[in-house]
Each structure stands twice: as C-alpha cells, then as structure tokens.
Amino acid sequence: MPVLTRLLGLLLVLVVLGWLVFVFVTGTPYALQQLVNGVTLGMIYGLIAVGYTMVYGIIGMINFAHGDIFMVGAFLSLIALIALSSLGVTSVPLALALTLLFAAAIAALYGWTVERVAYRPLRGSFRLAPLISAIGMSITLQNFVQVSQGARVKPMEPLLPGGISLLNDPDFAVQLSWMQIAIVVTTLAVLGVFTWIVTRTPLGRSMRACEQDLKMAGLLGIDTDRTISLTFVLGALLAAVAGLMILLYYGVIDFYIGFVAGVKAFTAAVLGGIGSLPGAVLGGLLIGLIETFWSAYFSVQYKDVAAFSILVIALIFLPTGILGRADVEKV
C-alpha cells in the first residue's frame, strides 16, 4: 500500500522534526553541542562511505574489507605520529600533514593490493565470489593487525587540546574544539579535491564511464582493470584520512574498529543511495547525527541499535536511498 506507506513515512519524519525543534527550543546550547559533535562524526562516516559507494558503483560489489582499510589507516597514523614525535617533530600541523600523507600513501597500497589479490582474479566469476572474498580479506586484515600490533586498545594523547566556546550560556557552553574544526575542515578539503578529480579530470571521467558501462568503456580503449584499481586506491586514500580523524577524535583505536565503523559507513552509503557520491556524504552526516542525538537524549549503549533501526526504516520508505536512482528497466 504505497499511499499508506508514504503517509506513515511522512508522519515519522514530522515526529522526528518536531522532536528536534522541541529539543532545540528547550535546551539550545546542549542541542547545538550535539549538532557539532554529530556533524564531526558524520564527516568521518561520510569519508568511509564514499569508498563503499564508489566501488559499488563501478563493479557492483560491496567491499567488506573497506572498513578494515580504514582501521589500517588509523594504525598507520598512530605509527607515523609516534615515529614523528620520537624524531623530534614538535610542530603539530607539520606532524599531522606528514602523518596524513604517510597513512594515505600506505593505505592506498593496501587498497590496491586487496583488489589485485582478492577481487580481480574473481572478476567474471559468479556474483557472490568477490563478496565472500571480501569478507575473507576483512578478517585477514583484522588478524594481521591483531598479530602485528597486539590486541590491546591503543590510546593516544590529544594532539590539539582546547578550542573555542560559542554561546556562553551560564549553565552550558558550546565547545567547538580545535580537533573538531580540524576534522571538518580537512574532510571538506579532501572531499573537495575528490569531487574535482571525479568530475573534472580524465581519470574521473573514465571512472564514471566504467560505472555506467564497463564493457563499452573497454571498447573505447579505457583500461578498465586499471580504472578499477585506481578506484580502490582513491577509496583507500579517503578511508585512511578517516582513520587519522577517528584516531584524533576518539584517541583510542584497536584492531576491531574497522568492523563497526565499516558497517556504519556502509549503512550511510545505502541510506544516501548506494552509487551516489553526494549521497554517501549525506548518509554519513545523517548516521553521525542520529547516533549523537540518540546518545545524548536516550541511551549511549543503544546508539548502534538506533543507527541501524533508522537504516531499516529508511529502506522500507526509501528503497533506493535518499539520492539513489531507481534502476530503470531498459526497453
């Protein structure tokens, strides 16, 4: 019953919006703080989600190892930061920039290798084969990091303490930490460069061509295997940036963070409409906001339940996601 479904969906959206208006009016500073936190977290999810959606768009496969590339990126960042501080690099911006370059470069290598080793030999095989291979790759990467880095949680001291206070209410001041600003600015810059690559460069053009018709792209002389490899490399680069961000934001990482973050980013990609790049970022922001607001007003323990319930509900009402296009049957 589409009419009933649509009415129900509309009702649901109205209830959520009404509740948001209510919390913003009754406790403005607290709600604003949640908005800031949610956007920061959402940016990180969005960065990872872009990798899922890009790979899905081009070869129609869910790269389950992508979350673990993100985890590897976080570990590479930690290693780089420790190495740089022991080398005596004291300037925080310099250390962060070098770490970003190092983590992105090595994670890109991981992304390329995963595709080359686990997916390319299975191209042209049945649809589930690369999917199973991806799950295997995910477990391999987790266990590799567990063995090489240890299973214990790795803490890191905050690199950029402090921040600025907005809206100094006597009861509650909205804190905008330098870290949050750095995360949002870096994410926006990285996404900007990425958007430019996809829309304006020959590489981006060939990626979009492969996404629309892989065989035809090959017939026009595009090396489709190389384009797919580069897609994985780009996705891994973004995931590594997200890894550095999560390390800076939470200050603790372990070998298992890739799983939950990966599933959430995948959720974000589906929510935004899998295959759509702006959709991935939008979905990431939504998941980040949902999770933060739920934790702030209801229960921290059940924040993942909230995030995934939203996915189920969203898929019932919007099967192709927010910005996804319905597959039009060709005549």
Binding site: I197, T201, P202, L203, R205, S206, R208, A209, Q212, D213, K215, M216, A217, G218, L219, L220, G221, I222, D223, T224, L230
Partner: protein, 288 residues
C-alpha cells in the same frame, strides 16, 4: 584484389557455441579507405564476426590480421579487449545504443580520448597536480570533440546529458564517439536501425565523409538502399558461411544471395525454411 591494400584480413574465422557454428571458416578482406558491408539474413553470424574483431569473443579458430597504414600488424584475436581500441585502433558501435547516458554529450566524446589525454598528462598525475601541459591537451581534446559534434550537428547540445537526446541524435553521437578514438577501422552494427528516411540520408553523408577522411568502415546493415549506396564491397553471409563477395552490382546479381534472402535455397534443400534461422527480412524487389 591488391593484397597490400587490405586493412583487415579475416582468415578462416570460426566461432562455435557448443554445437552451433555461428561463424564457419569465414574469410574476407576489408580494404583500406573503403566501406565494406557485411549483410545476410538474421542469425547469419554478422554480429558474431564483429564480436570476434572487437575482442568480445575469442574465435574458436582463424586469424584476424589488422595492418595499419604505417605497416604495424596486429593480431586482433590475441589482443586483450581494451587494447583493440587503444593500440589497434578499432572502434565499434552496437545495434542498441550504448552511450554513457548520465554524462554530457561532450564528456562522452572526451572519454573516448582518454588514452591520448592520459599519455600527455603522465597518466593523470599531471592532471591532478595541474601541470601546464594538461590544459593544452584538454583543449585539443575538446577541439576534436567539437569537430565531430559539428559534423553530426549536435554542437548546440554539447552540455546536455547524452540520454536526453532524441534517438537519431544518439545514434550519430555514438558514431562520433567511436571516431574520437582515431580509429583506422570503424565497425558499425546496424547504424540505420530505427532511423527515418531523412536521418538515414544524413547518416549516409556522415559515413561517406568518414570514409573520405581515410578511415576504413565495416558495416552491418539491413537497409539495402543504404548498403547499395555507400558500399564499395559487400560480403554476404548465411548460416555463418560466406555465400557471396564482391562489389554491389555483382552481389545484387548473385543468385545465391537472392536465394538466401528469399529462403528458397538451392544449397539448403535438406533444411526446411520453417526450421531455418532466416526469415526473409528484405523483400526481393528491394534487393533488386
């Protein structure tokens, strides 16, 4: 027949799918700077030949030799798919439209120049770093795209999504896109299918213009008017075998061709028409 002028030599090409011989020991040549038409009833194996030439199928047997004007020789049956376009410079279009519908008309033409752009820009690294050679290369690519857009009368619609064009324009755009890879051999699979007479006339002009520009064409077409007007050489297939080969006048007069199209084969007496693959598609008067 001057052997040196052969651009594409198909020798003893066979393609078998299980028990079906889609193409059976087929040999013919496409001479440089000519339009060679491959005709035959439905199911005769024409598209299979194209699929072998462009690397979609690996032939069961036979050789496909492409001899570039500069003397370089390519064995198409051994080249990996994308190199048939990028190295051997063979382009093709399909019976159905396969444009990148979500990209603009101009982008469709730029995608086809991907390799040229990538070479001049150090495989995209230069583009990412914004090196000065990149804008020049991109401008050259856009100029070429504009040239072909002008030739097919779509210059005004360069920035529209390709999927929004009318059907006839999409067909012309596919040909323009194929030309943007700078092909030495252009294979067109039923380019006139679904076109109205005026559009078919425009297509005729475009094909002759491409030929006069030095590109060799291989054409599958059911519109006999078009075939007879543009072809320099016609190869007729039936049941995967060549039944006639020659200039339009000779092929038109060949009794075997008439028999194949009317389904009253003197060679195929053992096989009743109802079971045969070919339904007569083109009426005899049109053929004559």
């Amino acid at each position: 027949m001057n052997a040196a002028a052969a651009l594409l030599a198909v020798a003893d090409l066979s393609m078998r799918f299980g028990g079906l011989r889609a193409v059976d020991a087929l040999s013919f040549e496409a001479r440089r700077g000519e339009i060679t038409a491959v005709i035959g009833p439905n199911g005769a194996g024409k598209t299979t030949v194209f699929n072998c030439i462009t690397g979609f199928y690996r032939p069961t047997a036979g050789a496909l030799t492409l001899r570039h004007p500069d003397g370089t020789v390519y064995d198409l049956e051994r080249l990996p798919g994308f190199k048939i376009a990028s190295r051997a410079r063979v382009a093709r279009t399909f019976q159905n439209i396969r444009l990148f519908a979500g990209m603009t008309v101009l982008e469709n033409l730029l995608v086809a120049q991907h390799n040229a752009l990538m070479r001049t820009t150090g495989f995209g690294i230069g583009a990412v770093l914004g090196l000065s050679r990149y804008p020049a290369a991109e401008r050259a690519a856009i100029d070429k795209a504009r040239f072909w857009l002008d030739a097919i009368g779509l210059l005004a619609r360069a920035d529209d999504p390709a999927g929004a064009l009318p059907y006839g324009a999409q067909r012309r755009l596919e040909i323009a896109r194929a030309m943007c890879i700078d092909p030495v051999l252009l294979c067109l699979d039923e380019p006139a299918a679904g076109l109205n007479p005026r559009e078919t006339d425009e297509l005729t002009g475009l094909l002759l213009r491409i030929r006069d520009g030095g590109c060799t064409l291989l054409l599958i077409e059911h519109d006999m008017g078009l075939v007879m007007r543009v072809s320099d050489h016609i190869v007729v297939l039936d049941h995967g075998r060549k039944i006639s080969d020659g200039d339009p006048a000779a092929v038109r007069a060949d009794p075997a061709v008439v028999a194949a199209y009317l389904g009253e084969g003197d060679e195929d007496e053992a096989e009743p028409v109802a079971e045969g693959i070919a339904a007569p598609e083109i009426a005899a008067p049109e053929l004559r």
